[in-house]
Assembly symmetry: C2
Homo-oligomer: 367 residues x 2
């Protein structure tokens, strides 16, 4: 870890007061905003997340709002995913690609109506791409970053905690669907989603004033549920195969390389950006793809740069995220592996920052 | 200060090895890349910068390359600045605005030729805007982030140090001009520029392999000049009125609000984005503008969020950067002030995180 100098440019959130009061130990910077990474310890936070319920300040999942008559048309140009059957209460994971098929972001789109969408972004200024594209294409749509800060409630007791604060109606929300529910007289988008596989919700908090009242209400209501502050957990997300844009994939990678081919099903008449590049790749198949990888030996120190994956002295890929899994008693990792070497069971070596280890390509992620 | 969790997403640079070896004490994150903020202490680094020479890893000033027949046409659409007389060895500070006149970035453009430009960016993904705009407008130009990492050599002894490494030719480079000069047989763009007013250069290091050899050569050649590692210095940049995108201005602000009106002189036939919005603002004048502000009392702790500027109980602006200046024996600050209150000598109060102080609008910055 290093020291972080704070400044206005690394934006605080409506919940920063609560995060600091609860003893955050470290941050990362995500979309130029503070995102907690550790409270007790990465391992203790992991154990707690899998057994209880946590409140996560994920305000850094900034929104790009598309508002106007051409909002849906613009959405269709942005993503290869077929949106035709998407309903007004649905959330879709939508890879966004440029004209070469390279990934610019892997956000979740929230459909309010045909003329209003939010895109809940990963760590890149997708706003600039959407604005530039809309302007260049002369579409009648307003594109901006609204004042919305998501708060995630994650873990096996999330249903119980959320029901206590938002009412039993939350239990009826289906996966990647949302309802508008009231908290202290104000209505919020509450979705069954989140960056863990332990179950839970994301509340899209509009404006700053409701932030701390909602934070406090969740902690008060959940005292007997052992509610704690939390954050996306490195170990749990690797076990679960949840990719991190900027870590596991960049603009250099295509959705197919990221194993996101199932989200690339454009309509017959699609004119989304990157269509031609994507068609070429579909014919030839991707040359590399993301795989779950186990790394032998005792706990590795998570990588701060890509670790080369080697076979017979040749580089055949790279590991981009790795951590010791207490539950699976191995180092779990995410890597990009060349086609000839990506089959499950393939024995490779990985050049970690602390030396060479053996590594094995897995059939699937752990969770 | 807080702790920073490192990951691949917060990119290391070709010089990170040197920065860490020299004992960096803290980082910020800029364009998803590590940028040092402190070596000895902010005050000691400041004193040294003003008297000797420093080597700064500013790789985070990523480049956006425009290459192709329409590169200059795209540049003209991007900025309100008149580029007609710009020569092939010049660097221009070019505000980039969206269709509402809001600033997306305040980079330095480097002209290689009519069909090849670099834009050396502040902290936002300008690449996405430029790509989106080029695609939308159907321009024949390739837009990408090349593998270029600027290294700045700043301070009064920068000429001497650079002459020892690149030859006496560097002394002839005029302000905001560049030459291609050799280091160990490789040619680099060397510009007389940098994010301080203590004089110096920026070397645009192409590729990673020359990074540490150049870093080491500068430290070896400068031992008797008291060369040290450094970084943009909070105190010096405020004294000098060097604005920081994300701190002192955001998308919410126009170039005129930022005092950058002199860089907004489009040609008669310009069709740059934001022209209409900018014309409206020129007629009415900006409603607020950036000012140098002194804050009374002993040293303030630099702000991590905007501090309200007040007059008679009413908010009339905000302070976004502030630090104690050892040379001017006052807290120097940068703020945005409403038109009625921006005249030099205006007495205001500022709500710092540690209490209310008196503040005075200055005629000009300190340096």
């Amino acid at each position: 870890m290093s020291m972080l100098s704070r400044s206005r440019r690394l934006r605080e959130t409506p919940f920063t007061e609560g995060v600091e009061r609860e003893g955050v130990k470290a941050y990362t910077v995500y979309n130029r905003m503070l995102l907690a990474t550790v409270f007790e310890s990465v391992e203790a936070d992991y154990r707690h997340l899998k057994e209880h319920v946590q409140v996560w300040d994920v305000s850094c999942e900034r929104q790009v709002e598309l508002k106007g008559p051409d909002a849906s048309e613009l959405m269709r140009r942005l993503t290869p995913r077929n949106l035709d059957k998407m309903q007004d209460d649905q959330c879709y994971y939508v890879p966004i690609v440029d004209e070469t098929g390279g990934m610019l972001n892997d956000p979740v789109a929230i459909k309010h109506s045909d003329d209003r969408w939010w895109i809940s972004i990963a760590d890149s200024d997708l706003l600039f791409w959407v604005k530039g594209l809309a302007l260049g294409a002369g579409l009648d749509v307003n594109v901006f970053e609204p004042d919305v800060s998501p708060l995630a409630i994650q873990g096996p007791k999330a249903d119980e905690l959320m029901a206590r604060v938002f009412g039993d109606e939350v239990r009826d929300i289906r996966f990647f669907r949302y309802k508008r529910l009231l908290f202290q007289g104000t209505s919020f988008v509450v979705a069954r989603s989140g960056y863990s596989k332990q179950g839970g919700y994301e509340v899209y908090v509009e404006g700053g004033t409701c932030g701390m009242p909602l934070w406090n209400a969740l902690f008060e209501a959940g005292a007997d549920l052992n509610v704690r502050p939390g954050c996306p957990n490195l170990i749990e997300r690797i076990e679960s195969g949840l990719l991190s844009y900027g870590n596991d994939m960049t603009m250099e990678n295509t959705p197919m390389e990221c194993g996101l081919g199932k989200f690339c099903n454009p309509t017959e008449d699609s004119d989304h950006t990157g269509l031609a590049a994507m068609k070429r790749e579909k014919e030839s198949g991707p040359v590399q793809q993301i795989r779950a990888i186990s790394i032998s030996g005792d706990a590795v120190k998570p990588p701060t740069a890509a670790w080369p994956l080697m076979k017979d002295g040749m580089k055949v890929g790279q590991v981009t995220s790795a951590a010791w899994s207490p539950d699976f008693k191995t180092n779990v990792a995410i890597g990009m592996v060349d086609a000839k070497y990506w089959d499950a069971g393939m024995q490779l070596t990985v050049e970690t920052s602390e030396g060479i280890r053996s590594a094995v390509v897995q059939q699937s992620f752990w969770n």
